[in-house]
């Protein structure tokens, strides 16, 4: 059972065309290595002094060498020695490298550092140089070359093992095992090695290929295998001497070397591809899915942004955003709230026209400041978006170019879209930094992003958006990566900008309390659609959608009753790749019934004039139970069992006991 994932991975490798070819090739080489000497060593050694140094003929397909021996069979028989030596050298290199690389784990930090320093020095020298060095010490010949190449492979392998081991050792599960009392050797064997195995195998395979080539090189030079033994390298060397009269004598072993080396390398590559990222989904065309029913958006002169039936899909087909429609007015603050998988971030990116291939954005209507954004990206549209739309991303650490000074990154906007010169644009950048309250703005403008703190970087990013005169700021989780006190500063800054310049704000967050502080209106997203739209004031008491209510109840705040279990939303958000018919929230909803699992409710005005996507808003609104309270019993397990025993529905995605 424990081998299951590994086994299937290997099989997956062999299923790709690359892997299959490489595997077959390698198999042929290995079979030849074993079988050829048994079958043909006689013919390979047979002298034919009548036909010395002859070209290809019927009797000798590739010709003969200077003693009349058939080169074709010599090449075939040499397979064994060449492959053996290559594998032997690889084995020596890999084992030595592994021991050296895992030294920090095995022997402690101090020894590890010493070994690491030695490896670092050795790694600086190219393999061939090290091989020559060791060849001098161990002497010319088969054994010497074997040790030489093996020890030359070791430092590279040690360095790789070192890096991988260090990375894995820093992960929490290794620390947890240490705390649980697991000893060092077991830690290494059970936790570290299996997790670094795959890249090591890839590198070992490629190292085998390289050893083969290195051996061929050494023997070619005369430093490797000595007469009367012969491997491909030696044959190559002999062949080179007569290349003018008898070229095939050199080319034949050359081809053999290339084929065998290629077999190893290709196998390594295919394994790398199979285990690496993007072991892809089957490529499919994004579907023309039926748009989820949306509201007809009414636009008037005060409309800043109008979106209708926005859809984002990826090959698979996966449609993480399934029909989003809403409008925004000038100066308005709108928040989009949802959990992971709701599609809120993608919605923001799609609105900002930042979704790239292979994602496909489709909208029946997407207008910003009166301009149709779906009409293609001309220079005019670029200028419009560059100056009137500001985007603030989640992670300020990675959202700035690490090799460019901050001031220059801000100034770029002005230089490109506002026609300012270098000095003028830099001055504006400093001014904007001051506007977002970055202290010592002029000095800071000359610094690099890594010299800023997280909150300051985020403010600089906002400043970058203020280089033009934005009418809309789209902020995607702008405070998630920040400390809570810094969060407050950034949110206050956004609120100030809104008030001062009538700038609209579209704030995306998973944290409903953040949205509550800065926005007038909230859009709640679930599984790629908006399920409710309401004003912030109504949030506390007037939410109509079961998900919104559950979400509000589940967030602990400073007044949550400490004696009662926290409200929980059982089940998990649906997988965007496998949408179910009907309402996406039905499997987790207390009020779900047949209608809900068959038909998806549109986002429409309900009887009380609220925009909700639910069939049973009346029932929900009338529900007396305070979601927050849960059951009366103290035992949390009882509460969970009760929550799990929902009204019976045939297609329950959540089995009893399968809690998030």
């Amino acid at each position: 059972m424990a081998a299951a994932p590994r086994g299937s991975a290997w099989r997956a490798v062999l299923r790709t065309p690359l892997g299959a070819t490489a595997g077959a090739l390698l198999l042929a080489v290995l079979v030849l290595a074993v079988a050829a000497p048994l079958l043909w060593s006689g013919r390979a050694g047979a002298l034919d002094t009548a036909h010395i140094l002859q070209g290809p003929s019927a009797a000798h397909w590739v010709g003969t060498d200077n003693l009349g021996r058939d080169i074709f069979y010599r090449v075939l028989v040499a397979t064994r020695l060449s492959v053996e030596l290559a594998l032997g050298a690889t084995a020596i290199g890999v084992v030595t490298g592994l021991l050296l690389g895992t030294a920090p784990v095995l022997f402690g930090a101090r020894v590890g550092r010493l070994v690491g320093a030695a490896v670092n020095i050795a790694v600086a020298f190219p393999g061939l140089l090290l091989a020559l060095f060791f060849a001098v010490i161990f002497g010319v010949g088969r054994t010497g070359a074997l040790l030489a190449i093996g020890l030359a492979v070791a430092p590279g392998f040690a360095r790789l093992t070192q890096t991988l081991t260090a990375r894995v050792s820093g992960l929490d599960f290794v620390a947890a095992a240490r705390i649980a009392g697991v000893g060092r050797p077991r830690l290494l064997v059970r936790h570290v090695l299996p997790n670094i195995g795959e890249p090591l195998v890839v590198n070992a395979t490629i190292a085998a290929g390289n050893s083969l080539l290195a051996f061929a090189g050494l023997s070619f030079l005369g430093l490797g295998v000595q007469a009367p033994d012969y491997d491909w390298g030696r044959l190559l060397g002999e062949g080179l001497n007569s290349i003018y009269i008898h070229p095939t004598a050199a080319l034949a072993p050359g081809v053999a070397v290339i084929v065998a080396g290629l077999a190893f390398n290709l196998l390594g590559e295919s394994i790398a591809k199979a285990i690496g990222p993007g072991a892809g989904r089957p490529a499919g065309r994004p579907p023309r899915a039926a748009a989820a029913p949306g509201t007809a958006t009414v636009a008037d002169d005060a409309t800043l942004l109008a979106v209708e039936s926005l859809r984002v899909s990826f090959p698979g087909p996966v449609t993480p955003v399934r029909g989003v429609s809403f409008t925004m007015r000038h100066g308005e603050g709108v928040g989009i709230v949802g959990e992971s998988g709701s599609g809120k971030s993608l919605t923001a990116l799609a609105l900002a026209q930042l979704v790239q291939e292979p994602g496909v954005v489709h909208a029946e209507r997407l207008e910003f400041l009166g301009t149709d954004l779906t009409a293609g990206t001309g220079r005019a549209q670029r200028r419009l978006l560059g100056t009137s739309l500001a985007v603030v991303f989640q992670d300020p650490m990675t959202s700035f170019n690490p090799t460019m000074r901050v001031g220059r990154q801000l100034a770029e906007v002005a230089r490109e879209h506002q026609g300012m010169g270098r000095r003028q644009s830099l001055a504006r950048a400093v001014d904007r930094l001051r506007a977002v309250r970055v202290p010592a703005a002029r000095r800071r403008a000359g610094q690099f992003p890594h010299e800023f703190s997280g909150g300051m970087r985020q403010r600089a990013m906002i400043g970058m958006g203020l280089m033009g005169t934005p009418a809309l700021i789209i902020a995607d989780e702008p405070t998630t990566a920040l400390d809570v006190t810094v969060q407050r500063q950034v949110l206050r800054l956004l609120a100030d900008i809104r008030a001062a310049d009538q700038v609209a704000l579209l704030l995306i967050s998973h944290d409903i309390t953040v949205v509550r502080q800065v926005c007038d209106r909230v859009l709640v997203m679930y599984a790629g659609r908006i399920v409710e739209e309401l004003s912030t004031d109504d949030l506390q008491a007037g939410a109509r959608h079961p998900y919104t209510r559950a979400l509000l109840a589940a967030v602990p705040d400073m007044a949550t009753d400490r004696d009662r279990p926290l409200a929980v939303i059982p089940g998990r958000p649906p997988d965007p790749a496998r949408p179910a018919p009907g309402c996406a929230f039905a499997p987790r909803c207390r009020f779900a019934d047949e209608q809900c699992t068959h038909a998806e409710p549109p986002l429409a005005l309900d009887s009380a004039g609220r925009l909700v996507a639910c069939w049973h808003t009346d029932r929900v609104a009338a529900d007396p139970a305070d979601e927050r309270a849960g059951s009366d019993q103290r035992a949390a397990s009882d509460e969970r069992r009760a929550a799990a025993g929902r009204p019976a529905a045939d297609e329950q995605e959540v089995s009893v006991g399968e809690l998030p």
């Binding site: 992960l171 599960f173 009392g181 703190s453 006190t485 609120a495 589940a554 400073m558």
Partner: protein, 327 residues
């Protein structure tokens, strides 16, 4: 009796000029059977404190005591009566080991074979996971389920004290509740002492009997939950409270009249490599020397926490009713 006590604990990384004092002379007690919530932001040293308690870091000064007995640094093969549950559910479980093996590995050595399997089943049931998860791999589980496996693993060692380091920060809001309910439940049922670390004051309040506030390596306030939140003594605690989610909170208006003056409102969090002199919080303090000119003492002298209520490390906090033994 399972009381965890940090006595004048200092943890330093690096040497000489590049030394970083992550934890600076911390005194903290987790009374037997209670939950102490440790709240602070990045750079406060709370994670370092947690890792030091379980032996992942060496103490540079002071000592950690469990029931009066000092804890020694972890040596291979030994079990520790203190266990830690980590923040990231995705890196705290070995992706190549089944759930069952992960939990079984943490079961003490004396238990063998069948009884080990039984013990694993018991632990999974304790954290409310179905028994058939034993053969699944972490990749097949959700974040919340993984955290519960991590809890089961921590409980396998029958610890006396459990330390939870930001265990719900990486989970979705709708799932946090499950884990928090579980933690409360376990605390009640097993009478565990717990040190619950989080940056989210609302979560800490929900779970803890006592709250300790940490800033830049020092404990700046400590007290019973309700009391501390009703009457915070330290300006940093007050700031955390202001930033915490209140029910029905009004929207953040533009610069409020009573908001802290410009000088400190956008002050950057201090750099732990170069802590300020005197009171560490003074560059950001809304009632400190940058705002009130006569409070120069904040710049020069470190406050004596023992003299104030809740052990608050502030010169101007209310004096203690009687000298606090500081947590």
């Amino acid at each position: 009796m399972s009381e965890l006590r940090f006595e004048d604990v200092t943890v330093r990384f690096g040497h000489r000029r590049h030394a970083l004092t992550a934890v600076d002379r911390v005194d903290l007690t987790v009374p037997d059977g209670s939950v102490v919530g440790l709240v602070g932001e990045s750079g406060s040293g709370k994670s370092t404190l947690a890792r030091t308690a379980v032996g992942l870091n060496r103490v540079s000064g002071g000592r950690v005591l469990l029931d009066g007995r000092p804890l020694r640094p972890v040596r291979g093969g030994e079990r520790r009566p203190l266990q830690l549950v980590f923040q990231d559910p995705y890196s705290s479980l070995d992706p190549r080991m089944t759930v069952g093996s992960t939990v079984a590995e943490a079961v003490p050595r004396g238990v063998r074979g069948v009884s080990r399997r039984g013990e694993v089943a018991r632990l999974l049931e304790l954290v409310d996971l179905p028994a058939d998860l034993v053969d699944r791999y972490p990749a097949e589980l959700s974040g919340g389920q993984r955290q519960r496996v991590a809890l089961a693993r921590a409980l396998a060692g029958r610890p006396e004290v459990l330390i939870a380091d930001e265990i719900t920060s990486a989970l979705d809001v709708s799932i946090q509740g499950t884990v928090l309910n579980l933690v409360s439940d376990l605390h009640r049922r097993l009478n565990l002492s717990m040190l619950f670390i989080s940056h989210n004051l609302a979560v800490v309040r929900y779970v803890s009997d006592y709250i300790a506030v940490m800033y830049l390596g020092r404990i700046v306030e400590f007290g019973a939950t309700d009391e501390l939140l009703a009457d915070p003594q330290h300006p940093y605690t007050r700031e955390l409270l202001a930033a915490a989610p209140q029910p029905g909170a009004a929207a953040l208006g533009p610069e409020e009249e009573d908001a802290a003056p410009r000088a400190v409102s956008d002050a950057e969090p201090a750099d732990p490599h170069r802590p300020p002199t005197g009171c560490r919080f003074h560059p950001r303090c809304p009632v400190g020397p940058l705002v009130l000119a006569d409070r120069e003492v904040c710049r020069t002298d470190e406050p004596a926490a023992a003299l104030h209520r809740h052990g608050a490390a502030c010169h101007f906090a209310a004096p203690a009713a009687r000298p606090q033994p500081v947590a």
